[in-house]
């Protein structure tokens, strides 16, 4: 076939989530320049960080641009509307950079009723899940000497509701591991005051804080916590401190904050597309843009590795059913680790649509000349990923 | 029957008392004239009667029913029609549509039912040629005529006219007088505020004099005009 294979790609290039998409252009350029990439045409659409818009552009890609497959990345606010649209349109879609629970459960009609949950026919997702982040976080906390009292700030959004979910979220696991959890309830994003939470954490004598706030909210929380004399030994936070700029915004107060690490230059994986190592890819990005590497780089790259790999295994890229079958049969060693929809580490309902990638824990360390480095401090679940140090307490 | 009765009505704007303990009655079918210097509170009295303003004290009775708390809209429906001293046309509507609003809503009828009535009113007030002109484009005199026409279109039992004769030529004035006499002859009760005294006195049967919100005279027009008080305050304009 002479015509190129058409990929649609939706990501939040503008709006509050834009930091996730900073490396998009770099990666797509690299993909198209690669051998496999030369068979593809990539049509990129901006969700403007708006779920409405994400669904709209997904439809445009399917209907006007007649794409063969959809790729989508970054937060349930982007992946879910796009995946739902593709599912309805019967177009294969691969998504990433959203924990699988908010992705999977968030697309169910009634998230509160597991009995009603159904697998998807055309939607596939690779990333880690809450169970991974919980085990990484607890492993990090276990390195410290604490009273095992945890305070949680979970917002009322896709991630927060999943993390705080009494069934699939943090509460049952922490309970099982002997932690006591103080969860005051789901606050709205862009809240200006966290005194209520801080008071509750102080009252419960929490030495650990966790949560998945958006960056401005975490800054507000953390600054107020310091102001009001609340000094936990560990703060393991998802989402808010993913990006170095967000940590730098905390001034000196970001030292030893910990976070989940999905990808880093020291991950011992290589690209199936270019053969580059993780370190090479990150270095290439830093050289090309002058910016510090960020975690989504690896996953967005892996998304295009997936596309190349899947399409390499199909006869007719325009046949959604064949493409879907090829995705389901993927066995790929990618720059983020192995991707296979074999149900490893997943509950039965999710095995069909989700593949898990490794997760480790890291801490932000203040560099001498200013700025922060992300140091991997826990690899208990994935020992193949090297650590750069061990967990330290936050200086109070 | 008493068409309208005011009992001890007072109204102030801040420190300024504009209507001061006014009481009077208008029997059905009568034409009453109101005179008084500028700012005496004549127009305010109309606003109180029509419900565009609420009195601070006292009560207003229409056809022996207390309407003090009744809204302007409902008072119109029960039969009070008015013209505004400063013409208040619906500027974007045509002259005919201005009347149509009044006739359909004021009488609660369909457009079809009132079409000929509206046209007839326009004929009587000599606005018919301007029927399809937006009211915003009318001259002042035409606006005043529109005020009268629109009030007539609601077919009121009590018609309140606020200075509609100012600035007319003698001929126009006579025509206006004829029109008002006509309406009066049909049994409509009329209250007319006017500075053009000869026009007023040729129609009304009684005259009320207002000064500083107070009723200072009420009775036969000739007697009132001859009274010393009225000579003093009102005809102060005499050179």
């Amino acid at each position: 076939q002479g015509a190129k294979i058409r990929l649609g790609y939706v990501s939040p290039q503008s709006g509050p989530l834009a930091a996730f998409s900073e490396a998009d252009q770099f990666i797509i350029d690299g993909f198209l320049a690669s051998d496999a990439g030369s068979n593809f045409e990539v049509i990129v659409k901006d969700s403007q960080s708006n779920p409405n818009r994400a669904a709209e552009v997904a439809k445009e890609l399917i209907i006007d641009d007649e794409i063969d497959m959809m790729l989508v990345a970054s937060t349930p606010e982007t992946t879910n509307p796009v995946a739902t649209t593709c599912e309805a349109e019967e177009i294969p879609v691969i998504s990433t950079v959203a924990p699988w629970q908010p992705y999977f459960i968030g697309q169910q009609g009634n998230p509160g009723d597991p009995g009603s949950w159904q697998p998807f026919d055309f939607s596939f997702h690779f990333f880690w899940g809450l169970e991974d982040v919980i085990s990484v976080f607890t492993a990090m906390w276990n390195q410290l000497d604490t009273n095992k009292s945890v305070g949680a700030i979970f917002p009322n959004d896709g991630d927060g509701n999943a993390w705080g979910d009494p069934v699939v979220g943090f509460p049952p696991v922490l309970d099982a591991q002997g932690y006591t959890l103080t969860d005051t309830g789901r606050y709205q994003n862009l809240t200006d005051d966290f005194s209520a939470q801080i008071n509750a954490f102080k009252a419960a004598n929490c030495e650990i804080v966790t949560g998945v706030p958006i960056p401005p909210d975490f800054t507000t929380f953390w600054t107020q916590a310091k102001q009001q004399g609340f000094n936990p030994k560990a703060a393991s936070i998802g989402k808010a401190i993913l990006f170095p700029q967000a940590v730098e915004a905390l001034g000196d107060q970001g030292h030893n904050l910990s976070s989940e690490v999905w990808w880093s230059p020291s991950h011992p994986f290589a690209s199936s597309l270019t053969g580059q190592s993780a370190g090479d890819l990150a270095a290439g990005y830093e050289a090309a843009t002058g910016k510090q590497w960020t975690q989504p780089i690896g996953f967005v790259h892996a998304l295009f590795e997936m596309a190349a790999n899947v399409m390499g295994r199909v006869e007719d890229s325009r046949d959604p059913d064949e493409v879907t079958a090829a995705i389901a049969a993927t066995q790929l060693s990618s720059i983020v680790g192995r991707i296979a929809f074999d149900g490893a580490g997943l509950p039965p309902f999710a095995t069909q649509n989700v593949a898990k990638t490794p997760l480790v824990g890291g801490q932000w360390r203040l560099k001498d000349g200013g700025g922060y480095d992300l140091v991997i401090v826990d690899n208990s679940v994935h020992p193949d990923i090297p650590t750069g140090g061990s967990m330290e307490e936050i200086p109070s | 029957m008493t068409m309208l009765a005011l009992k001890n009505v007072s109204k102030s704007f801040g420190a300024l008392t504009v209507t001061d303990d006014a009481s009077f009655e208008v029997p059905e079918g009568q034409a009453l004239g109101i005179i008084g210097p500028n700012g005496a509170g004549k127009s305010t009295l109309f606003n109180l009667i029509t419900g565009n303003l609420r009195p601070d004290e006292g009560s207003i009775h229409f056809q022996e029913r207390d309407v003090t708390k009744v809204s302007a809209m409902e008072r119109c429906l029960t039969g009070i029609g008015r013209s505004f001293q400063i013409p208040q046309p619906f500027e974007k509507l045509t002259v005919y549509e201005n009347l149509l609003v009044a006739a359909t809503h004021g009488r609660n009828l369909s457009e079809r039912d009132v079409r000929d009535d509206c046209a007839e009113v326009l004929e009587r007030t000599e606005l018919i040629k301007r029927a399809n002109t937006p009211a915003g484009q009318l001259s002042l005199l035409e606006r005043k005529r529109l005020e009268l026409s629109r009030a007539m279109a609601t077919q009121p039992k009590l018609l309140l006219l606020d200075e509609i004769a100012g600035g007319l030529t003698e001929g126009e004035c006579q025509a206006l007088i004829r029109t008002i006499k006509d309406i009066h002859a049909q049994g409509v009760t009329i209250i007319w505020i006017e500075h053009v005294l000869h026009a007023l006195t040729s129609v009304v049967e009684r005259l009320l004099v207002l000064d500083f919100g107070k009723v200072i005279g009420l009775g036969d027009p000739d007697e009132i005009m001859a009274s010393k008080e009225v000579q003093e305050i009102y005809l102060g304009i005499e050179v």
Partner: protein, 235 residues
């Protein structure tokens, strides 16, 4: 040569034409009265002169300069102050502040200042810290006149300063006019109270329906002339 003059002045409110080619003149140290029925266009004329309404740039001249194109504040700065119809005090300002604001656009060392205005209307000194709107109508009118005087205008436009006031109060206010004249201002006085107007004016214009229908000195106009011009009867 006239100090202030209008030539073929027209004015519109949207589609509605309120003035049709009005010509009036005001000489130095002269007082002119403008009379006419409600809606004749007197206020519109004042507003056009004061620059509140836009007009033909050449329609108004003051001191031999065209001021028709100037904005109200610029005209005021040239020395034309207005006492607007309905007094229009600033409710958020006290009596004294209302007076002081009169000098905003024109600060001069003329006869009029806070002290001389209080001398003219002593009652205002007593009420100086009250909000302007808490005064009686006559007192409010005094504030409005005082406010206009504060800038020591060369021309003072007074729009119906007797409106809605009791005869005794009107008398009080009109008592101030000779003093204002004596301090050097020329005046245009709009009045419906013909007797008052005639008493203070050097010349009278009578308006009807947006046009000047009659003009002359008070002595030269008969009662009938005025009546006709005023009410428009017997054309």
């Amino acid at each position: 040569m006239a100090l202030l003059q209008t030539q073929n002045l027209t004015a519109h409110y949207g589609d509605f034409q309120a003035l049709f080619g009005v010509d009036i003149e005001l000489g130095k140290a002269e007082t002119v009265a403008i009379i006419g029925a409600n809606g004749a266009g007197k206020t519109t004329l004042m507003r056009s002169i004061a620059g509140v309404l836009q007009n033909d740039p050449r329609a108004v001249s003051f001191d031999n300069k065209n001021i028709g194109a100037l904005a109200a504040d610029e005209i005021m700065a040239q020395g034309v102050a207005m006492v607007p119809e309905g007094r229009k005090l600033f409710p958020s300002l006290t009596v004294e502040e209302n007076l002081l604001i009169g000098t905003y656009g024109r600060k001069t060392d003329g006869h009029w200042n806070l002290k001389t205005v209080y001398d003219l209307f002593p009652i205002l000194a007593e009420r100086r810290h009250n909000p302007g709107t808490a005064l009686s109508g006559g007192q409010q009118q005094m504030v409005a006149i005082g406010r206009a005087l504060m800038s020591n205008p060369r021309v003072l436009l007074c729009d119906e300063i007797s409106l809605g006031l009791a005869p005794v109060v009107i008398k009080d206010i009109y008592k101030a006019i000779p003093q204002i004249k004596a301090a050097g201002a020329s005046m245009i006085v709009v009045e419906q109270d013909i007797a008052q107007a005639m008493a203070v004016a050097d010349r009278v214009y009578c308006m009807m329906e947006g046009r000047v229908t009659l003009s002359g000195t008070p002595d030269s106009l008969s009662r009938d002339d005025i009546h006709n011009a005023y009410f428009g009867a017997n054309h």
